[in-house]
């Protein structure tokens, strides 16, 4: 006897009460998030799933859910899972969508099966639901990772404007923590602008960098060295007292780099280096 012969029948002959029972099960649990999703929406999703699930079990393939006959179910679960990931459901809330179906389904199997059949019937149904549960969790995880990756990318883009301060002087105000990937973007951006504006002095302002460790310092030194290779002098400005202390305690050598406490000082030095002076025009009052 092929296993799970009763499952298709149970689903095919169901008159909608399975959906009701399942809904009751889902709504009773703590994982239902009425703040994030309305009951009608949940009911619609559940009904769609039961439809697709019913069709998939008709094919009689319970061994794996990776086959083409399970594709509609997988697509449906993927979209459910993805929307829940974006709405802020937790992984277990999402997985419970599948696992809560077990109780009503088993009750129906128990009603039809003989006691001897019951064990194997329950085993088959349970395995299929477990696999679907794993699948929905996996998709959930993947969507969350996509969200994180996209946010990282956005952060990267908005973080590194290179400003032209004066003829031949560019400045890049760094904000936030510097890691390797960000430094790479900053470096490429800065070097490209140096070429574009024909700048001979570049100011890197680290007022907005919360902490400087050896790695960050290393990145800064690399950027300065690269700019120097292209023929532009670099000034690092905006070094807060705390950071100056950290740099010295860490034993980071910034000897070959011009450093200034404030951006204003750096701009003054940069203007002098490019042959300008700043003069105050006496007030006429």
């Amino acid at each position: 006897m092929p296993d799970g012969t009763l499952l298709p029948a149970v689903l095919a002959e169901d008159d909608g009460r399975l959906l009701d029972d399942w809904m009751r099960e889902q709504l009773a649990s703590a994982s239902v998030r009425r703040d994030l999703m309305s009951e009608t929406e949940l009911r619609q999703q559940s009904a769609e799933f039961l439809g697709a699930f019913g069709l998939a079990v008709q094919t009689g393939n319970f061994r794996s859910v990776d086959g083409p006959e399970w594709a509609p179910v997988r697509d449906l679960l993927a979209s459910v899972s993805r929307s829940r990931a974006l709405q802020g459901f937790s992984p277990s809330d999402t997985a419970y969508f599948i696992f809560s179906l077990k109780q009503p389904l088993f009750t129906r199997l128990a009603a039809r099966a003989t006691p001897e059949q019951l064990a194997s019937e329950a085993w088959t149904a349970s395995t299929v639901l477990d696999r679907l549960g794993l699948y929905i969790t996996e998709v959930f995880q993947k969507s969350r990772e996509e969200v994180i990756a996209r946010q990282q990318e956005e952060l990267m883009e908005l973080s590194t404007p290179v400003v032209k301060v004066w003829e031949g002087v560019v400045a890049v105000p760094l904000i936030g923590t510097l890691d390797s990937a960000r430094t790479q973007v900053v470096m490429e951006n800065l070097l490209a602008r140096i070429v574009e504006y024909g700048a001979s002095v570049a100011i890197i302002d680290i007022t907005g960098v919360p902490t400087v460790d050896t790695l960050v310092a290393q990145h800064l030194i690399k950027t300065v060295a690269a700019a120097r290779l292209m023929g532009a002098e670099c000034i690092i400005s905006g070094i807060r007292p705390q950071i100056a202390q950290t740099i010295v305690h860490l034993g980071v050598v910034l000897e070959n780099v011009t450093t200034k406490a404030s951006l204003a000082d750096a701009i003054l030095v940069a203007l002098r280096a490019t042959g300008y002076t700043v003069t105050r025009i006496a007030s006429r009052s």
Binding site: E188, V195, G198, K222, A226, A227, L229, M230, G231
Partner: protein
């Protein structure tokens, strides 16, 4: 191309690298350049690498060596027009070319050399004048 041309401009030598450097080419350039510095009595060397898109550690090292050799022969070296990608690569390789002057383009590089020469020229004239006076 098996040789990179070396042009003489007044007291400077001008080298523009417009093809991708391979190892032999770099070594030939090193030979030719040192020969020419001695022959012409050049005081400055300007190497324009604005068309150079790819460098490896060997080429980077040769550039550094050329600069060091010119210095021994009393000629200043300026490397001009390095592409951002090339600069990043060299830094990542740990070749920051210490002792090599750099400039954004040939024009600025020439100004830099001229400036050096003027300063040094004054110093030499003073040094020459002293023992005579």
């Amino acid at each position: 191309m098996d040789r990179i041309p070396i042009l003489k401009m007044g007291r400077f030598l001008l080298v523009t690298i417009q093809v991708d450097m391979h190892d032999r080419l770099a070594l030939t350039l090193q030979d030719d350049l040192t020969e020419r510095i001695v022959k012409e009595g050049a005081r400055g060397v300007l190497i324009d690498i604005s068309s150079l898109e790819i460098v490896d550690s060997f080429i980077g090292r040769v550039l550094g060596n050329i600069a060091a050799m010119s210095r021994v022969l009393d000629a200043k070296t300026v490397v001009t027009g390095m592409q951002p990608a090339v600069a990043i690569t060299l830094v990542e390789l740990g070749l920051t070319l210490p002792g090599v002057r750099t400039a954004l383009n040939v024009e600025r590089g020439m100004e830099l050399l001229q400036g050096e020469l003027d300063r040094e020229g004054l110093a030499t004239v003073e040094a020459d004048a002293d023992p005579q006076g």
